[in-house]
Point group: C2
């Protein structure tokens, strides 16, 4: 692969180094596979660079991406034991946000999603993490549970080095517009079409 | 996310369990980001399931996906130390395949690519790995260095549980046709367009 060469040099008063280290807002959308998988692949790189990683999963599911959670939490514990890589926090909405005192909040998905976003807002203000993965975050936005204007404004104004990766189908156009990098994953062929269900090591 | 529900139940004489555990040929193609990143995300899941993972990188690059290699090799050494997860082997063509005795073969990319494919063919016959990642494998096929008919026939006839994940732009139509799962990653927006170069933790 050739080295990336910018096609335009912007007149924004920043040095190449400043631009290079600017925080990115990344969106993985589309109906295909790989949106979350590629986000967790980015977490691998971030961990290797010593990033503090915060994962926030917004949709309750029977398949909680157990594989990724297990490995990333193992990497987080390696960090605690040996100082290698970065720290990892993994929070799941449906199981009740682990930092939340409202034990029953998982019964009201809209309230739980809004509460999750408030926590992320707070962490962004405090520059808690270097990399935030907001997995399936497009859904509570599209369902009106979280205000897209607030999301865009908060993300646009965030300070420091805080990369944010958002996954989910049908990303809101304002979110796409605000993002630095948007990839659409499109399904070309899928074993579901031939009657195959998901399997371990591939789907979870 | 809803549970996957097959839209068709095929009349192939297999039980659901047999179909569920069928080896998959996965292709990540398109001009967007995330092809390799999602492949290494799958490797996370595979490792967690105890899979033997073999990674084969087919294009010499200044950015050797150092982050992913470093973390996956660390997970491989964890496996050796503690028995957790699966084994990981990582082979790079441009650096001279580590299993190859021809020290100078990296100077002839076509020969090195063909040699890499022969090694993979051999490993598939011996069922060496549970998951093979053939990173940027579409390029040596498109450049005529590796015969696509041989690839399709070998992959179609492989035995046992051997998942194969191929990445790269412009996947050959015969490869797409043979695959169980093809995702096209399309660029919607990219910071390169605004004059930003790659940065650590995101691009490598």
């Amino acid at each position: 692969m050739p080295q990336g060469k910018p096609s335009v040099v912007p007149d924004d008063g920043l040095t190449t180094r400043q631009r290079r280290n600017r925080s990115l807002l990344v969106v993985h959308t589309g109906d295909g596979k790989g949106k979350s998988t590629a986000a967790f692949g980015l977490a691998l790189r971030g961990w290797n660079q010593g990033f503090s990683i915060g994962v926030f999963q917004f949709v309750k599911s029977a398949k909680w991406r157990i594989g990724e959670q297990s490995v990333l939490e193992r990497l987080g514990s390696l960090h605690e034991q040996t100082g290698e890589g970065g720290s990892v926090e993994w929070h799941k909405m449906g199981a009740g946000w682990s930092w939340s005192r409202k034990a029953g909040s998982e019964h009201d998905h809209a309230a739980a999603a809004a509460e999750g976003w408030q926590e992320i807002r707070q962490r962004l203000a405090e520059q808690t993490h270097d990399m935030y993965i907001l997995d399936e975050f497009t859904y509570p936005i599209n369902w009106g549970w979280i205000d897209v204007d607030d999301v865009v404004e908060t993300l646009t104004r965030r300070l420091g080095r805080q990369h944010v990766i958002i996954t989910g189908r049908r990303a809101h156009p304002d979110l796409v517009h605000a993002a630095d990098l948007v990839t659409e994953m499109t399904k070309v062929a899928h074993p579901m079409d031939a009657g195959q269900k998901g399997q371990r090591g591939i789907e979870w």
